[in-house]
Symmetry: C2
Subunit: 305 residues, 2 copies
């Protein structure tokens, strides 16, 4: 089955202590769509300016990403620029130019409204809700968010949550949203705010998944070198939602969600190995399956005799 | 097989935001010995003063902990007092009175020197080496350490490491010791300093285990409420080393070490549920096996079809 991905499409300028690249493909929907495309056909929804490279449309099509929901309008594409500290753990936003994104108010083409799986990648929760309003009873809705929306548009976010099957956020956002320092209590509180499932991303410490009766914990893939953390969370969400859609003929149960979290982690681990989307552009399904198996080997221990 | 445990034995006064308890059994060897005793007979080595409660000797004997290596000398038992911050994540040492521990220089009774498994619980590395000097070719040596020794007696610690099969430390200590912010690189660097295996404790984020050819990552047991974090690391080390000794008829391989890390985590998760050693005093093997199984359930995901 297909997955509809809506979010930001940007041209990023990113600086790390060792490299700097300007005007590279970025934005939450860009990473999420490519991450998802390894597992399922993607319907991409977003907005770009008239300066947006045509080659990226060709790239999307080559990856089975349908860009019919991407509006190309007069003006400049959303631009973001950031710089990472020496240990790549913190980053500073140097500039944001919303440009055509400022007036983005997605109207979904009729043929996209029946898509069964929806990933609301990181954008304002009011936009996420607006997209959901146009969908016809999707089977499974995944929503990603960030600290900015928790701080500035909390009411919109609260209104969205009961409409979401799986909420994804990182550990500091989970703590911020619940006011609880314990991630275990925070994960459970977040479920009481509406979503059936909650995934908490912990970066180098892996991820947690909370469900009505189940709990899942996994580590991160052991990377020695990270080149560009940008988009790791978006790629995680994309890989996860794409995997669900790809396997989505039956019920989405906790066993499927566990595997989806691992595939999301696998995709994110590849993404940070190079700048922008470069690693995802060359990634193969064989490499993904190999790393999934590595994940299994590094996590397994035996049943008690 | 038995495990020899050497470390500190103390009477602790611990304050959390909700409770305070004075002169409770504490110290690295106390937690480690009781943790280990669920899996193997323990030979305890340490020193106490003449004020040390006789009831604790009776408790040790009831748990198959042989206290013949515990010297009771004139003077007061080592005392430590600390207070935890509101979120229990940081603590401040309020007072330390080494008392009889100040001149502790363990001389092992002859019958303890043949013990095949050794846990050098957290004490000065020179004391840990001095204990190893007296052992007759033990099969497996586990050493725990802390930031204090990394900062103040680094040379002694460096001299100990090549004599150790498994080094245990927490994530900030691993970073401090290697000067590397990446825990993956830090774990691998630590192995190059001597120990065959390195376990990195990450508190609520679980643990990592590094070996010559293998890597293992596990989460922490999802606890909603922690009452007293004191001794969690010592109990982890004790449970781990005790499990190895209990199963130690064959080779200590990576599969056994994975399970030992889980049992260490299980023991530590129980320990923080109550003050001092109170939870361990009432703990049963059935409860341990149940939680091991919970760990397995929360960590597992399927092989790819």
């Amino acid at each position: 089955m297909s997955v509809l991905v809506v979010g930001s499409i940007a041209l990023d300028t990113v600086k790390t202590p060792v490299e700097e690249h300007a005007d590279q493909l970025g934005g939450s929907a860009s990473y999420a769509a490519v991450g998802a495309s390894f597992f399922a056909p993607v319907k991409l929804v977003g907005v770009v300016g008239d300066d947006f490279p045509k080659s990226e449309f060709d790239f999307w099509k080559s990856r089975n990403i349908d860009p019919s929901g991407v509006q190309q309008v007069a003006g400049k594409t959303f631009r973001w620029s950031g710089e990472y500290a020496w240990d790549l753990n913190t980053r500073e936003t140097k500039s944001v130019a919303l440009n055509v994104f400022e007036n983005f108010w997605p109207e979904l083409p009729e043929n996209l409204r029946e898509t069964q799986f929806v990933l609301l990648a990181n954008i304002a929760p009011s936009l996420q809700s607006h997209v959901l309003d146009q969908m016809r009873r999707p089977r499974f809705v995944v929503a990603d968010t960030m600290d900015l929306w928790i701080e500035t548009t909390r009411k919109d976010l609260d209104a969205l949550l009961p409409r979401v099957d799986l909420l994804i956020l990182n550990e500091s956002e989970a703590r911020m949203m619940t006011g609880d320092t314990s991630l275990i209590r925070a994960g459970r509180s977040l479920r009481r705010m509406g979503p059936k499932y909650v995934a908490v991303k912990k970066g180098e410490h892996g991820a947690l998944l909370f469900g009505p009766d189940d709990f899942f914990s996994c580590g991160a893939y052991p990377l020695e070198d990270i080149h560009d953390p940008t988009g790791a969370g978006d790629t995680f969400a994309g890989g996860l939602a794409g995997y669900l859609a790809g396997k989505g003929d039956g019920e989405v149960d906790f066993a499927l969600l566990r595997r989806a979290v691992i595939f999301g982690s696998v995709l994110a681990s590849f993404n940070v190995e190079a700048f922008s989307l470069e690693r995802l552009r060359s990634l193969t399904s064989e490499e993904i399956d190999e790393r999934y198996e590595m994940f299994r080997l590094m996590s397994q221990f035996e049943v008690l005799p």
